[in-house]
């Protein structure tokens, strides 16, 4: 198991490294002048040059790349934000955890809802429940994530007033520690709606996969036996049959995580959730390249982290994969 984890970790780090390189050259080679935001007409050419030198933009490209790598890997220094005039990591630091939490909550909701309803839909094959649940999940998948967010805010936040419409906690809240910051009812109330929106938007894949897997399991002999024994249906579905159907669903977890985190960007914007996604949109709007670049790399890192977790979960459920 140890070598499996080490191998996957190494793969992820290599991918991350390649991604950092890709993003770096992408930002430098595309036709947008990063200093355009800070340069105003009154500046003399020498001042402009000094500004560019300050941000290291006057050095040759490969030197910039080497410096960038050294700074990021050795010091965790992503540079200075053009907009905030602060170190990038200071700007993004606490946003990483916010995005991870939202991402985890979203995946948990979508997969738990998906597997529970999918299993039930397979059990009730050909019923209105099955057709209805598939149709609803597909409708959620067809709808853009941000639009579902807007509609839910309309209904649940404004009309019904059940949940707050934006943010991560009430204004004026002072947190005494990291634990305090996240483990409280106010935070959960703020987390629920965005996570639900993301979860419903992505519920179709696990639901359909679980249903398909269960359809095959339901015909097996041990289910016949359980039925003959007179066990209640929910017991048969969830305690006996579902376990065997879970494997293909968990496989899809790794693939769907990437898509989910990508969609979280939109949910964060709609709910003003202070995470990496919203930050990358803001940074892109302001041409704040260091922040946009770093946020992008960090989002990719979060995706890889969750992929790794998904792989570990799969290895736990199906130990055969470890020895492949």
């Amino acid at each position: 198991m140890g070598t499996f984890i080490a191998r996957r970790l190494l793969q992820s780090l290599v991918s991350l490294f390649i991604l950092m390189t890709l993003v770096f050259f992408l930002f430098r080679l595309l036709p947008a002048d990063p200093t355009a935001v800070m340069v105003d007409a009154a500046m003399t050419p020498e001042q402009v040059e000094r500004l560019r030198a300050n941000f290291g933009l006057d050095k040759p490209l490969l030197v910039q790349y080497a410096l960038y790598l050294r700074n990021v890997i050795l010091h965790g220094d992503f540079g200075t934000s053009f907009f905030y005039r602060q170190p990038v990591f200071q700007v993004l630091g606490d946003k990483i955890l916010s995005t991870i939490i939202l991402g985890l909550a979203t995946v948990v909701i979508s997969y738990s809802l998906g597997t529970l309803i999918g299993a039930l839909a397979a059990w009730r094959r050909g019923s209105a429940f099955e057709a209805g649940s598939i149709a609803v999940s597909l409708a959620f998948r067809a709808a853009p994530d941000f639009w579902i967010g807007m509609v839910f805010v309309m209904i649940f936040a404004y009309r019904l007033g059940w949940f707050p419409h934006s943010g991560m906690r009430e204004i004026g809240y002072v947190a005494t520690s990291l634990w305090d910051k996240y483990v409280n009812l106010d935070f959960l109330r703020h987390l629920f709606l965005p996570a639900l929106v993301g979860g419903l938007a992505n519920v179709a894949t696990p639901l359909l996969l679980m249903r398909n897997a269960m359809l095959e399991v339901v015909h097996e002999e041990f289910v016949e036996l359980a039925r003959a024994k007179g066990l209640p249906p929910w017991r048969i579905i969830y305690l006996h049959a579902a376990r065997n159907a879970l494997l293909p669903v968990v496989t899809s977890l790794a693939v769907s995580v990437g898509r989910t985190i990508g969609g979280i960007v939109l949910v964060e914007v709609v709910f003003s959730w202070p995470g990496l996604g919203r930050e990358i949109v803001l940074a892109a709007t302001r041409y704040d390249f260091p922040v946009a670049q770093a946020a992008f790399v960090l989002i990719a890192a979060v995706v890889m982290l969750m992929n790794l977790l998904a792989d570990l979960l799969y290895a736990y459920l199906d130990p055969r994969i470890v020895y492949r």
């Binding site: 067809a142 709808a143 639009w147 807007m150 990437g258 960007v265 914007v269 949109v281 992008f296």
Partner: protein
């Protein structure tokens, strides 16, 4: 069992949901083509009622879907927006399918080093989160419809390539390919004449998938504000709605464009599902 085009169409038409999807898609295409005539007003023009700007009017006989905070007719915006949605959807899907199929074909047929390199590239592409990458790309380039199509295409080909390659791998070892090679056919000829026709149904299926995905992606990009400023798109209407606080005050502004997106993408989903049942006999529900 491979089917020819007419048999595939006949089987497809038996699927009621797919037929419904086709009709809706056709409806949207007609809407887009004749948008200029169907839209009652200029989508970007401020409408006036009794000399005053028609701000935030709820749906009425005159303004079927209501008006925005600048008095623009939402119905006209939704009608005109169908053009961008279909343009981006179909063009991006075409580019992605052609590129992805070509790469999958080459990788699967030649195998070896070529395959490994190409698949490594695909793996890297898979590691890149889609929406953030597209946002970054469109922000770095000038936000125009063409650039949006490019940005969407740059990543979306990865799934087509993978699936086509898998299919090509299974085909490349079949007797008929070996026979062609023995007969002296060149690699290009084998790929083009023998393998490609068997790939086309799968490629079309993937193209169908990508179309829905491209439409949603374009709406998402426009929603965060990086859409083409000169065009009218559903995402852009929702962007303006969000900024104006319509979520609190003008539900019609939020509902109309969103429902249009849902309708179109669902129609494409059902067509795709129908195609999938036709192409993959194992899934067919007798």
């Amino acid at each position: 069992m491979t089917l020819n085009a007419r048999e595939m169409l006949r089987l497809l038409l038996r699927d009621r949901l797919a037929v419904a999807g086709l009709l809706v898609l056709l409806g949207f295409i007609v809407l887009a083509v004749f948008a200029d005539s169907i839209a009652p007003f200029d989508p970007m023009a401020m409408q006036r009622v009794d000399g005053r700007i028609a701000r935030m009017h709820p749906p009425s006989q005159q303004f079927l879907f209501g008006t925005t905070d600048y008095g623009r007719d939402i119905f006209s915006q939704v009608v005109m927006g169908s053009r961008i949605a279909l343009q981006v959807g179909i063009l991006a899907a075409l580019v992605v399918t052609i590129a992805g199929t070509a790469i999958g074909l080459v990788a699967g047929y030649y195998g070896g080093l070529v395959d490994t390199i190409l698949m490594r590239v695909v793996d890297i592409a898979y590691g890149i989160p889609f929406i953030p990458f597209v946002i970054v790309l469109v922000a770095l380039m000038e936000p125009s419809t063409t650039n949006i199509i490019v940005a969407i295409s740059v990543l979306s080909w990865r799934s087509v390539a993978r699936i086509v390659r898998a299919q090509v791998l299974s085909l490349a070892n079949r007797p008929f390919v070996k026979a062609a090679r023995v007969a002296g056919a060149s690699d290009l000829r084998i790929m083009w004449v023998h393998i490609l026709p068997n790939i086309i149904p799968l490629a079309l299926l993937e193209m169908s998938f990508v179309t829905g995905w491209a439409i949603t992606s374009e709406a998402s990009i426009s929603f965060v504000g990086f859409g083409d400023p000169r065009s009218v798109s559903w995402g852009k209407t929702l962007h303006e709605a969000f900024l104006a606080g319509a979520v609190r005050t003008a539900p019609w502004w939020v509902a109309a464009p969103g429902l249009a997106i849902v309708l179109l993408v669902l129609a494409i989903f059902f067509i795709t599902r129908g195609l999938e049942n036709v192409i993959n006999p194992r899934l067919r529900e007798w």
